[in-house]
């Protein structure tokens, strides 16, 4: 099922959680809503589920208005951040819940229901836990049961709120691969919310980057990482060196001096230069447009992280330098960015 989100605005009192959000999710897609806390991503998910209602805008399921239907009627599988498993029911009964509360004429017979629940427990590889209570499960197991419970109603769309947020790092990595594989098997349209860029980039087909209730960029993981549309996306996804510059007649100036970079698409005024830490080379200071002093060198791996104080910046920048390059603290160096992006500073 495809989901259309049209001009959705949601306010909580004076706070605007979603500001005119437009988004189209294709059938069978796995989409990540990525953003810092307060960016509105969870609110958007809850609006799709029918747990929250927008002030303006439309939600369309396969082109049909979904806002006229309650959460109960939307047939949406929702996995909560803290799972919200029913603590007084066994794992089996938790998964069976959605089937047991069906209208009488649509209810399954007991053997059919058992078969369905067992198949789902099989799918999440936890059939051996059927008789346990949620309190007896580990975080990762609870997560998978919550997923099986949501899938039991054969949802048209699966919504997951910070699905790996409450798990430790190792389980989180395992589980997100597993979720990716599961999605490849069952192909239900899925949307998950996360503040963890690594998670979004690894799992999702497309990533929707949000900030302050607005969508900053929609694109494949490669897109948002390699061609960030805004300064926010560049800074939020991956590591960035940020240098305040100015643009005058297409030329980029640092500290009043041109640094040999042209920016024809940026109008005259303040701007910020974004560089990935591995997209900048250290050269001899003589003749280099950007110069700085090496402060610290750390890291034991193949690449070392070097802190360099630039002339006018208070914050030193961090540059990845290959082991082969000899550097000592206090040394003057020149810097040459070979891949970069420039964004005008919004007034």
């Amino acid at each position: 099922m495809d989901i259309g989100i049209r001009n959705v605005t949601k306010r909580f009192g004076a706070f605007t959680a979603l500001d005119n959000v437009d988004l189209a999710i294709k059938s069978g897609e796995l989409v990540a809503l990525l953003g810092p806390s307060g960016s509105g991503k969870t609110t958007l998910l809850r609006i799709i589920a029918g747990l929250e209602w927008p002030e303006q805008g439309h939600i369309l399921f396969d082109g049909e208005d979904a806002l006229s239907r309650s959460a109960r009627e939307r047939h949406v599988g929702f996995v909560f951040q803290h799972y919200a498993l029913f603590r007084h029911m066994t794992v089996f009964e938790n998964v069976a819940f959605g089937l047991r509360v069906r209208r009488r004429d649509k209810r399954l017979s007991e053997p059919e229901l058992r078969a369905r629940v067992e198949r789902l427990l099989d799918l999440v590889q936890l059939q051996w836990l059927a008789d346990r209570y949620p309190s007896q499960l580990s975080g990762g197991q609870r997560q998978r049961i919550a997923l099986a419970r949501a899938l039991a109603i054969e949802p048209r769309v699966l919504l997951l709120d910070e699905p790996f947020g409450a798990l430790d790092a190792k389980v989180r990595k395992e589980l997100r691969r597993w979720l990716r594989n599961l999605h490849d098997d069952i192909h239900v349209t899925s949307v998950f919310v996360t503040h963890d860029q690594e998670e979004a980039l690894e799992v999702a087909d497309r990533v929707v980057v949000m900030d302050k209730g607005r969508i900053e960029q929609i694109g494949t993981p490669r897109d948002v990482y390699q061609r960030p549309a805004t300064a926010f996306v560049h800074e939020f996804i991956g590591e960035s060196i940020v240098i305040a510059v100015s643009v005058e007649h297409d030329a980029v100036l640092y500290d009043g001096k041109p640094i040999g970079i042209d920016a024809p698409e940026i109008s005259t005024g303040a701007a910020r230069l974004f560089i990935r830490p591995y997209d900048i080379s250290i050269v001899a200071p003589e003749g280099a447009a950007l110069c700085g002093t090496v402060r610290y060198i750390h890291g034991l791996g193949p690449a070392r992280r070097v802190e360099i104080a630039l002339g006018a910046e208070k914050q030193p920048i961090e540059v990845d330098v290959p082991r082969s390059q000899e550097l000592t603290a206090g040394q003057q160096v020149g810097l040459v960015p070979h891949r970069y992006r420039i964004y005008a500073t919004s007034p």
Binding site: R72, F78, F80, H88
Partner: protein
């Protein structure tokens, strides 16, 4: 690095001499004094009165004891008490759940006022709780004329007893449920609804089971208080023997008539109720902790 930390730690442990007491522990004399004071206090104020009740009740043997309980008026008082408690607890069960549900799951204007009001019966004298109903429904009360015209008896009758008891015991169930429901939030309910459950299904299959131990606990306390209530009930009862006397009121009448064995015999039933309540409470707490 880890090795160094480990060694220095063991070293520090070695400094503490063998057999030295923990700095947090009081000297034995202080400890025993405190324990003795606590036990003496409990004995004088709790155990002794309880023992006295049974001792006085059985002062002339078992036969007068049971004869006192088998009196028509005594049986009527027991029946009335059970009836009033049954009605009041049922009403408060419904009110308490609704109030707790409203407070814990919704935000609305006047919510803090409602929370304060729920506690009112705790802070107000029970006599006043009874008096309120006399002022409302008594012969000289606001609705007195209307009630008399329609031949409806509230004060000095069962409805008055129930009203007074409901008011006094209202906080017990709501107070138990509110903090628990607030702590549990609304996620379970949201999950149930997104899985297709109706409002009623959500309530009976998710909300209620989530609070069942707190609810039982509240019912238990509410019941104990409903059966034992004296002040509020005394004002609205009219003390008609065999008709509007509950057990606590009946005990007072017997005592004032110097029928000590009978008075203490009925009182012993109330004391037994208290003991049963305590045991049930302990069992409930153990079950709840086990889950």
């Amino acid at each position: 690095m880890a090795g160094i930390i480990g060694r220095s730690h063991r070293h520090r442990a070695d400094i503490v001499p063998e057999g030295a007491s923990d700095a947090r522990e009081e000297p034995a004399a202080v400890r025993w004094t405190i324990i003795a004071i606590a036990i003496a206090f409990l004995s004088v104020f709790l155990v002794l009165p309880l023992v006295t009740v049974f001792q006085e009740a059985l002062a002339h043997g078992v036969i007068p004891y049971f004869r006192a309980l088998a009196e028509d008026d005594a049986l009527a008082a027991i029946r009335l008490t059970l009836l009033v408690a049954a009605i009041s607890v049922s009403l408060n069960l419904v009110f308490g759940i609704i109030a707790a549900w409203a407070i814990a799951k919704f935000d609305f204007f006047g919510k803090s006022l409602l929370i304060t009001l729920i506690d009112l019966p705790f802070s107000v004298s029970p006599v006043i709780s009874g008096l309120v109903f006399v002022l409302l429904f008594g012969a000289q009360g606001y609705f007195g004329a209307f009630l008399q015209a329609h031949d409806i008896q509230i004060i000095f009758a069962l409805p008055g007893l129930v009203l007074a008891t409901v008011l006094v015991t209202f906080p017990f169930i709501a107070r138990e449920l509110i903090p628990l429901m607030q702590e549990q939030g609304t996620q379970d309910e949201e999950a149930a609804i997104s899985l297709g459950a109706s409002g009623l299904q959500t309530f009976f299959r998710v909300t209620l089971p989530n609070v069942k131990w707190a609810l039982l606990y509240g019912v238990l306390l509410c019941n104990a208080r409903a059966m034992g209530e004296f002040g509020a009930v005394s004002v609205v009862s009219g003390h008609i023997r065999g008709e509007t006397n509950t057990m606590p009121l009946y005990v007072e009448i017997l005592y004032n008539e110097y029928q000590f064995v009978a008075a203490f015999a009925v009182a012993s039933l109330l004391a037994l109720l208290a003991l049963v309540t305590l045991i049930a409470k302990a069992l409930l707490e153990r079950r709840a902790a086990a889950e």
